[in-house]
Amino acid sequence: MEPSFLFGQFLGGLTAAMFLFLIASGLSLIFGVLRVLNFAHGSFYMLGAYLAFQFVQWVGPRTEGFWLAALGAACGIAVLGGLVERLLLRHLYGREELYQLLFTYALVLILGDVAKITWGTGQLSVSRPPSLEGSLNLLGVIVPHYNLFIILLGPTIALIFWFVLQRTSVGRIVRAAAQDREMLSSLGANVGMVYTGMFMVGSFLAGLGGALVTPTQSIVPGMDVAIIVEAFIVVVIGGLGSFWGTFLGALIFGQVLSFGILIFPRFSIFAVSALMAVILIVRPWGLLGRPLR
């Protein structure tokens, strides 16, 4: 096999990984702080894609309005997430995990139909913004500018989050909320706000991921339940609640999928599920996570 072919395969995996990182990082943040495994995260991702499509129709396709549409979609999903947490999910924190899981699954059912009712069941697509329509020849591989942008966006977002979580007072409170909710609230912090805020940030990331994926793949019903399993696999590999773990998990997932297709053409989706199972068996808290108390 030629090195340029392998490099192309690697870049493809990297692009997929950064998309997955956007989505899975939101899932991981929400789990890390709220201890809720949010099945509806995939639905937020799908709605982000549909919203972006809608906004692009309004601001005009094939214009730089795409960026506004994407940002608007992500913010819309953040607001939706905030409402869901405030009005409903909040009342289930004291209950067993099963109830929280089923609640988020109920959202999957409802939001999936909302999307179908609003946008129908056909395939929708969004074109790339004009500024990133071109492509570039990188070591003999043709890489669309848009993919390059995604590859750079992933680490940028990761660094922003690292900085906010580790170096600011807001980040300190969030980390404290993840460690000991009661202690934090007795110190006078508004834990309820932290929870709502984190759920909104997580939802924002899902919405952003959905919005940004639209120029690379068509929007179809069912993308919600497909992506959530992949996001689960990513966070499990890296460690539930671990931010850098999610980054690593996404990188591994992307490459396994990308090169798995070369080795076992049919079984690459099998390979990633198997990887998740192996990680859970050997190291349930993931590569970079810590065991839950």
Binding site: L98, L101, L102, A106, D113, V229, A274, M276, P284
Partner: protein
């Protein structure tokens, strides 16, 4: 200690007898719905052996359902095996896989347990979806044959019925046997230990119970019955498809169980009946059944966490004047 009266009533037999006249109600549709309920209620009840009895939240029960369905369908369709051995083989195959997967799952707790069951189910799904030579891949296995039911012709009344009505009786009888078995298992000393594990695993460990071994046994038994249910469903559905193993299929028996009430043996069966009847009603008005189901589920989680049976029991106690 004598068992309370309510436990001494042979409920399985009563339900079985009540359901016998369904094909004579005059509509092919009633038989269809009743068969659906009977088969899927077994799926939900098998899950509840883990959920309600042992306190294990699994999100991958569809794996065993689909393994049973594929095994039986393959044996009957491709190898021409008779129904009964194929059905039993479906259950055994599901039990075997549940034993292997469960061995790893029961070493984990809570969310990790749920995630690993999900991971195994997705592996099964990926295999069903992609292994074209055996499972038919994305297209699945259509045209699974009905069992040979000619022997039923000698039976009075039933002999002249349609094949689907006859199959209803086969399913009803086999599921009733499964219920009798599951009921025995739940009330046996083994089942009691499972309840102890649910309520307090540490204490169970202290009094010398091998918690993992019991959980594994429960996992295997539960998987076996899920497989038996899936095997019947594949024939009823006239085909087996990879969707049977997808993670959303695992949510179905969970919803049925929560709807009926997981604290009661009959809860999942009641939930399955309620869910399927509701589905039939709703889908005649609108195609957006998931939307309605999601709404029902949310109301259930917030307002009636005990499910139908739980709420009725509470109501009954209040009317009876006893403290709930």
């Amino acid at each position: 200690m004598t068992r309370p009266l309510i436990n001494r009533i042979p409920w399985t037999l009563i339900v079985f007898l009540v359901l016998l006249p369904v094909p004579f109600l005059g509509s092919r549709f009633y038989t269809f719905v009743a068969t659906d309920i009977v088969i899927l209620s077994l799926f939900a009840t098998s899950l509840n052996l883990l959920l309600g009895t042992t306190g294990l939240v699994t999100f991958g029960h569809a794996a065993y359902f689909s393994i049973g369905a594929y095994t039986t369908a393959l044996l009957m369709k491709n190898l021409g095996f008779p129904f009964l051995p194929s059905w039993i083989a479906g259950g055994l195959m599901a039990a075997g896989f549940a034993l292997v997967f469960g061995f790893f799952c029961v070493r984990l707790t809570k969310i990790y347990f749920a995630m690993l069951t999900l991971a195994f189910a997705q592996i099964v799904w990926a295999i069903c979806f992609k292994w074209n030579d055996v499972t038919g891949g994305e297209q699945g296995l259509p045209n699974v044959p009905y069992p040979g039911l000619d022997w039923m012709e000698v039976l009075p009344l039933i002999g002249d019925l349609r094949v689907s009505d006859k199959f209803y009786y086969v399913a009803l009888a086999l599921v009733a046997l499964c219920y009798a078995a599951l009921r025995r298992i739940t009330l046996s000393p083994f089942g009691r230990v499972l309840t102890v594990i649910r309520d307090n695993p540490e204490r169970a460990q202290f009094i010398g119970v091998n918690v993992r071994l019991y959980e594994l046994a429960a996992f295997m038994v539960s998987g076996a019955f899920a497989g038996l249910s899936g095997a019947l469903f594949g024939i009823f559905n006239r085909g087996v498809f990879p969707d049977f193993a997808f993670w959303t299929k695992s949510a179905e028996p969970l919803i049925m169980t929560i709807l009926g009430g997981m604290a009661h043996f009959w809860g999942p069966a009641v939930g399955a009946a309620a869910l399927i009847l509701l589905n039939q009603q709703i889908t005649s008005y609108t195609e957006y059944w998931p939307f309605v189901l999601g709404g029902v589920l949310i109301v259930l989680l917030f307002v009636f966490p005990g499910g139908i049976v739980g709420t009725l029991t509470k109501l009954g106690r209040r009317i009876g004047g006893r403290d709930a």
